[in-house]
């Protein structure tokens, strides 16, 4: 009767709900300077001159830097999916030679006050000779640099005999689909505070998130320091979503300035900056074909897509197009396959990962194809999916593809069962009848669904240290990070059960590079799986040690002892001699006479390795109502059925899913970074970049199942972070098609009122 599987309250909430969180903006040091970044107002051009004299003379200004001042600092390197040919497209911390998007950092102003810094930044005179702008990744590639194309790379993944499959096809459906440029927009904008402690010769960076250890190592390398002299501190993080916490130019600039100017340097991004400077994501154009037999069974999929990378290739390198190409086949049997992704630079904000990177996109493409197959062959959309799903008996299902350095082996799943549960929960047949009745009565309503396979638990390792102090309080130190998803609670639950104590006595320390040498951080829905299992292993060792020590002191055989509520007891009896974990920790102090031959301290390290990701899966179903006059879409119902393998804390899983759905609706209906013909960004505030609010997000129906525990870890865990967002675009598009009675009408996300009005206007009057 442990707490794993129970929706226990979050440990991290007390400071947050009482206003005592510590975000980047809350960090301050004496004698601190403030940085303001001067950003390009041109989408593309040659830098002719940068005059900083007036800015340097402005009140409070301590320094103004351009590339010439930081020319010794190498560009920011790739963290994932480093493929041939991308290195030349990396971003330097200040622009050199050319500016490549509106927002490209060209200078940095350091002043004693943030407002003085901003005023002085306005005085920096950047003269740019404009160059032609490239805004469409599908257009003919241009020149990135002399002799270097804007097509940085082509990602290709394929297997099987494509030509034969298309030759033998009963039917071929072909779609031209577009996913809009949008991204994660956290409440807390980015922030970075660099502080050089000369007394210890330690460079500190505060305000970090997501991947503190990787960023530590790279900041150290870029600045020529030993990694052990660079300490990164994660505070509270007001939303991550993949974009927050990657290594950006501003992070390196504040570190360099702290070293060179000898004073702490703080930078807090404003909202307009955030919308043009932090990673964008998603924008892809797919030309996809499916070959099917007469029963609607897929014979082959063939997809060529254009990935709009923006002005530079940042830390994610080819991660997003690679994942799109690798994950496109989803839960279906696809005998022959090819995906060709063109990674194209454009004069827009650089792109990176955003929650379910490559999958939100490819699920939209795949599920639009499934709907098109259903329409073409006159088969029910649910049925056509059911016919193509990989069967449970086929698990583990090896797909001859790889991504993120791992081969894709679908580890476990009962896809048909989940589809049945989803449609049953929605009362699918009755729903269809009801929608038909409403349409007959003049309403414009419809339902649609999308199915997907997620991936989670990326390795290759995770390690933690679990220790118990003399009061019996437990500390888990992990190199994972928390971006608000409940890491402290989930890891405490796993630790508490493995050790035999109350989860509220377990404190999880994360994101502090000086506390642990290693860490991969929080991304790819990996923490619960990887850190969770490392924690279970370490806690089991601590438990064994505690029992061993207690056995000696209580003069009882170890196998007669158990740990209940933080005390070693005989059996599960509440009577008789016992020792608390605190007392055992005391007995294990280095100078304790009771320690005997045991190593000091009630502590253990736990390491968990895996070569493979695991693959949770889900169904999204939407009911949409369209206003024919305005083109507005209301989502009446939204269901997520998701198999998590095993839910450590179902409440948190639901929370992850709810947040994901809201963001998915943003990408499906509202959120889009638009540019004018000159590459000027149009969506630079929340009036123009429209995010869903409580009004636009319906009450969700969430079905969490545990039908297919992962065989790759003993608890059977899979990740929850991205299952809520994955198929929202796909399901909403299908529901709108159904509502307006035009299969395949939706080919582009987001489905804004303008776009939907245009679709409706072009329809023949019935």
């Amino acid at each position: 009767m442990g707490v794993v599987g129970k929706s226990v309250p979050r440990l991290e909430d007390a400071p947050l709900v009482t206003g005592r969180g510590r975000f980047a903006g809350d960090i301050a040091f004496p004698h601190m300077l403030y940085m303001r970044v001067v950003r390009s107002s041109h989408a593309h051009g040659r830098i002719v001159s940068i005059d900083t004299a007036a800015a340097r003379a402005a009140p409070g200004v301590v320094a103004v830097w351009t590339f010439a001042d930081v020319a010794d600092i190498p560009p920011i390197d790739f963290r994932l999916t480093r493929i041939e040919g991308l290195a030349a497209y990396r971003q330097t911390i200040l622009a050199t030679g050319r500016v490549r998007y509106v927002g490209d950092p060209v200078a940095a102003v350091f002043a004693t006050d943030p407002y003085l810094a901003e005023d002085a930044a306005d005085l920096v005179d950047v003269v740019v000779e404009e160059l032609p702008v490239l805004l469409d990744a599908r257009a003919a590639p241009g020149e990135f640099d002399t002799g270097r194309s804007t097509e940085a790379a082509v990602v290709e993944k394929s297997y099987g005999d494509l030509a034969a499959a298309f030759g033998a096809a009963h039917a071929v459906v072909e779609l031209d689909l577009a996913i809009g440029r949008h991204s994660g927009v956290p409440i807390e904008t980015r922030g970075a505070i660099g502080h050089y402690d000369a007394g210890r010769d330690v460079l500190e960076l505060h305000g970090v998130a997501k991947v503190p250890h990787w960023n530590r190592d790279n900041i150290a390398r870029m600045l020529g320091r030993a990694p052990s002299t660079v300490h990164l501190y994660e505070g509270h993080v007001g939303g991550g979503f993949g974009i927050r916490g990657e290594l950006y130019p501003e992070d390196v600039l504040v570190c360099l300035a702290a070293l060179r100017l000898g004073r702490p340097v703080k930078w807090i991004e404003d909202r307009r900056e955030h919308l043009i400077a932090a990673n964008h994501s998603r924008q892809q154009r797919h030309k996809a074909r499916a070959a099917v037999d007469a029963q609607g069974r897929i014979l082959a999929l063939d997809d060529e897509f254009f990935h709009d990378q923006g002005g530079y290739v940042r830390t994610h390198a080819a991660t997003v197009p690679d994942l799109a190409a690798a994950m496109l086949p989803g839960p279906y049997r696809v005998p022959a396959y090819r995906a060709v992704g063109h990674v194209r630079l454009t004069n827009k904000t650089p792109c990176g990962t955003y929650r379910a990177p490559g999958r939100y996109e490819s699920t939209f493409v795949r599920e639009r194809l499934m709907d098109a197959i259903a329409a073409r062959l006159g088969i029910d959309p649910v049925e056509v999916r059911r016919r193509n799903l990989v069967a449970t008996e086929e698990m583990p299902y090896r797909r001859p593809l790889s991504t993120l350095g791992t081969d894709i082996v679908l580890d476990s799943g009962d896809y048909v069962r989940l589809l049945d549960k989803a449609t049953r929960t929605m009362n699918w047949a009755a729903l269809q009848d009801d929608l038909r009745r409403r349409r007959a009565a003049g309403e414009c309503v419809g339902a649609g669904l999308g199915m997907f396979v997620e991936k989670s638990g990326l390795g290759p390792f995770d390690g933690v240290r679990v220790s118990v102090d003399t009061s019996g309080a437990v500390e888990v130190v992990t190199g994972a990070a928390s971006i608000g998803q409940g890491v402290e609670t989930v890891i405490a639950q796993i630790c508490a059960d493995a050790l035999g104590t109350d989860y509220r006595r377990v404190r999880v320390v994360h994101g502090q590079t000086e506390r642990i040498a290693f860490g991969l951080g929080a991304f790819a829905s990996r923490v619960t799986v990887m850190t969770g299992e490392a924690t279970r292993l370490a806690a089991a060792d601590v438990r064994a040690k505690a029992i061993q020590v207690a056995a000696g002191l209580l003069q009882a055989p170890p196998d007669a002892l158990d740990i209940v509520d933080g005390a070693v007891v005989r059996g599960s009896a509440a009577t008789g001699p016992s020792m608390t974990l605190g007392e055992i920790a005391k007995a294990l102090e280095p100078s304790s006479r009771l320690r005997g031959a045991h190593t000091p301290g009630l502590a253990a390290d736990g390491w968990f390795y895996t070569d493979h990701m695991n693959y949770p899966y889900g169904v999204h179903a939407a009911v949409a109502r369209v206003d024919r006059e305005t083109g507005g879409v209301t989502i009446e119902r939204f269901l997520v059925a998701y198999d998590i393998g095993r839910a450590v804390n179902p409440m948190l899983v639901e929370g992850q899913i709810a947040g994901g759905v809201a963001q998915g609706l943003g990408g499906a209906l509202f959120e889009e970074f638009l540019y004018d013909d000159r590459g000027e960004p149009i969506s630079v505030n929340f009036a123009d970049y429209v995010m869903p609010t409580a009004r636009e997000v319906p009450a969700l129906e969430v079905v969490i199942t545990e039908d297919a525990p992962s065989p790759l870890n003993p608890l059977g865990l899979k990740g929850a972070g991205e299952g809520g967002i994955n198929a929202v675009g796909a399901a909403v598009a299908a529901a709108i098609d159904d509502a307006i009675g035009v299969p395949g009408a939706i080919t582009q996300l987001p489905v804004t009122p303008q776009r939907l009005r245009e679709i409706l206007r072009r329809l023949p009057r019935s």
Binding site: P460, F461, G463, F518, S591, W607, Y609, D611
Partner: protein
């Protein structure tokens, strides 16, 4: 780790000049590359070796006893009661000196504080319990003017009670100095038939003692 990466037995690896080498071959890996693998490619050692190049150890020695002899030569001004230290010699034995410069520094600092104990520093209260020495004008730390040159002589008797064969010496300087200084003062006062049995041996105390003395004839 080098054994795993070089596909050799760990017994055959020799470490020399920042390189791990399979003995007698040209198969080698720099410690830098090894560390990189240990921290960033930990999966290469999976299951066999814990990531990182790090080790921790606990050590519980029985305790060591450093020892010293302090010698002071002083001159007392019988008119004012002031004491001037003309010479100060320390012979000490702290086993192996890991860093002789730091050893000397510890002794210098300790002797200075010991001399202060002997001559200057005292926290004084009045009858009402009020502290009278709450400033550095009333509580007198030694300055460079009061400090004689200190001659230090090391004996290095290696101890088997610690793995480094070193003994602790952070406090010895302050232990020996007060006794040596006060003994020297009493030697100087011997012809007057008085002695100091309380320190600090302030000018007031020395003068008070001398006032009770029978002047030598």
């Amino acid at each position: 780790m080098a054994g795993i990466l070089l596909e050799a037995s760990a017994d055959d690896i020799v470490l020399e000049a920042d390189v791990a080498r399979v003995a007698g071959t040209d198969r080698a890996i720099t410690v830098e590359t090894l560390a990189r693998a240990a921290y960033h490619q930990t999966h290469r050692f999976k299951g066999e070796i814990t990531p990182g190049i790090a080790a921790s150890a606990t050590y519980d020695p029985p305790g060591t006893f450093s020892n010293a002899c302090h010698l002071a030569m002083v001159e007392v001004d019988v008119e004012t009661g002031n004491v001037r230290i003309d010479r100060f010699v320390v012979a000490e034995d702290a086993g192996r000196l890991i860093n002789p410069m730091i050893v000397d520094g510890q002794i210098h600092g300790g002797v200075a504080q010991g001399i202060a104990n002997a001559l200057l520093e005292e926290i004084v209260y009045d009858d009402g319990g009020n502290i009278l020495t709450a400033t550095l004008a009333d509580y007198l730390p030694p300055t460079v003017r009061e400090m004689p040159p200190i001659e230090i002589h090391h004996l290095v008797t290696l101890t088997s009670a610690s793995v480094t064969k070193a003994k602790g010496l952070g406090e010895g300087g302050a232990i020996g100095a007060p006794a040596a200084v006060v003994n020297a003062i009493n030697d100087a006062l011997a012809p007057f038939g008085v002695s100091i049995d309380e320190f600090p041996a302030t000018p007031q105390r020395i003068r008070a003692a001398l006032r009770t003395a029978q002047r030598p004839t």
